[in-house]
Amino acid sequence: MDTVANNRSASEAAGKDTTLIYRQSRWTRLTHWIWAFSLFFMLLSGLQIFNARPQLYIGKQSGFEFNNTILQIGAENTANGPRGFTEIFGHRFDTTGVLGWSGPPGQETPRAFPSWATIPSYYDLGTARVVHFFFAWILTTTLLVWLVAGLINGHIRRDLAPRVSDLRKLPRDIVDHAKLKFHHTREYNTLQKMAYGGVLFVALPLMIVTGLAMSPSMDSVLPWLNEILGGRQTARTIHFTVMVLLVLFFVVHILMILAAGPINELRSIITGWYRTDPPEKPDQPTERSA
């Protein structure tokens, strides 16, 4: 599977002893970019859908005569004019300009997530649902294709499956990441395995499951789903929370790529070819940073 090409001319010119290896299969690369594209549209249409009811609740139903709201984004009139606020677990923050009350100067409107963060930019729940469900099918299909391909070509077993050695390497790995010291190898490091495995085997499946749990029709097929999740409104809250985690993953993912060498990292996810560090020499035990 591993194709190794010595790329001496470039590396010798740079005075380095590096090797280009074929690291990412076409399945990994294709599904990666379809996810990136789909998640972008799912996020922006999802924020629009959230704007229709900018509250999150815990339980089977929404509390109108009782309080089970854990998050609320809204606008209120104050002595200083309208302000946007975000309230989490009873703690209220002024988020004017971004959450609750936003828009061009003089044309602000009450809306939970701002215009620039939603599809469509104006309030349109129906259209957001069309976009959201279209990409939900794309995302889910892609995840299944990736799972089958990854099981067949060994990507999951070889690159993502956790090993005992991963646990042993974890402390060192955390320290290296904190120091922005990266090793370019064929294998993912422990934190990478946790991040990618967490997104692909936990976060995305959880998004699909909580999404289905919100569908009244699916509830007639899988009535136990909401019972496990704690009720439809809890499912909706989990859906939102995992969205926040996926956005955090995206931010860290981009930062790590920039820190580890964006050209090499991007080349590997576009062409599959990745430049690895030279093998460590026994007389030079110190590891080289990126």
Binding site: F41, A52, P120, S121, R129, D219, S220, V221, R232
Partner: protein, 269 residues
């Protein structure tokens, strides 16, 4: 869009431009911008393409749920608040107000269209038919949910009494409340469901809520419960049920008031 100056030679149809630009990676650059928004309007090429997924969702859920899979039912302990009223909660229509003043004694439910025996039922006649009571969760398209106990006549019994003609495919609900005042006159709420949902055991014409007569804000004297779909598929203030074979004569042709304004006809998700 207006900001872009495209020379006539390079000009392509807006539909092609929007499809290409939004399906290409440049879609990211267009997020939230006017060009992308306009391609998503009802009838737009891009939107029509994306709406294919709704048809897929409908077929997939129908395949999985079949005809009779029941929506979850809850217990009395889950009724923790009055049913939240939504949409029109106090119809301002003279006809409705006249009927309400007389406690709906003059109200009738007409059953017409593609039926062998058109009906005109009083509230008493409906209430004398076998009833079903169910504690179910109302899910609004906006995202909220509310659990309540509904009592009503199974729609299938009414359909059996009227004898549905074989060519009928949908049940259309005509309502008494004006949902929108347009230049061409008042638009009263309307909607459709197919005969599978119409004959679903939990699909009832509800006249009771939480053990009491259905209040005005929740749709008195009669509203539909379609428990495997979202709230906008359950019209309130019913006056007529019409069996139809398509959406051609249903409002703007998409099968309902909210559907004509961009919601999916299938509200199961």
């Amino acid at each position: 869009m207006a900001k872009f100056q495209i020379s006539p030679k390079l000009q392509m149809s807006r539909r092609k431009f929007l499809t290409a630009s939004s399906l290409g990676l440049s879609g990211i650059a267009l997020s939230g911008c006017d060009a992308f928004d306009s391609g998503l309007g009802i009838g737009g090429g891009l939107r029509s393409f994306l709406e294919n997924a709704n048809g897929l969702t409908w077929r997939a859920q129908r395949l999985l749920a079949g005809r009779d899979a029941l929506a979850p039912e809850f217990t009395e302990a889950d009724i923790r608040q009055p049913q939240r009223p939504n949409g029109v909660t106090a119809p301002d229509d003279d006809t409705y107000k006249g009927l309400l003043a007389n406690n709906f004694a003059d109200w009738r439910l007409e059953v017409s269209g593609l039926v062998e025996k058109p009906l005109s039922l009083t509230r008493e006649q409906l209430q004398n038919m076998p009833s079903r009571t169910q504690i179910t969760r109302h899910d609004c398209v906006e995202g909220w949910s509310c659990i309540a106990k509904w009592t009503g006549t199974p729609l299938s019994l009414v359909l059996d009494q009227a004898v549905v003609k074989p060519q009928a495919r949908y049940v259309m609900f005509h309502c008494l409340d004006t949902i929108e005042q347009s230049l061409s006159g008042d638009i009263k709420y309307y909607g459709t469901i197919d005969l599978i949902d119409a004959r679903h055991p939990q699909t009832i014409l509800a006249y009771g809520l939480n053990g009491k007569p259905l209040p005005v804000e929740n749709g008195a004297p009669l509203r539909v419960r379609v428990e495997r779909q979202l709230g906008y598929k359950m019209p309130k203030y019913l006056s007529k049920i019409e069996l139809v074979d398509g959406f051609a004569n249903v409002g703007g042709g998409r099968g309902g008031y909210w559907e004509d304004n961009g919601y999916d006809w299938y509200g199961g998700i």
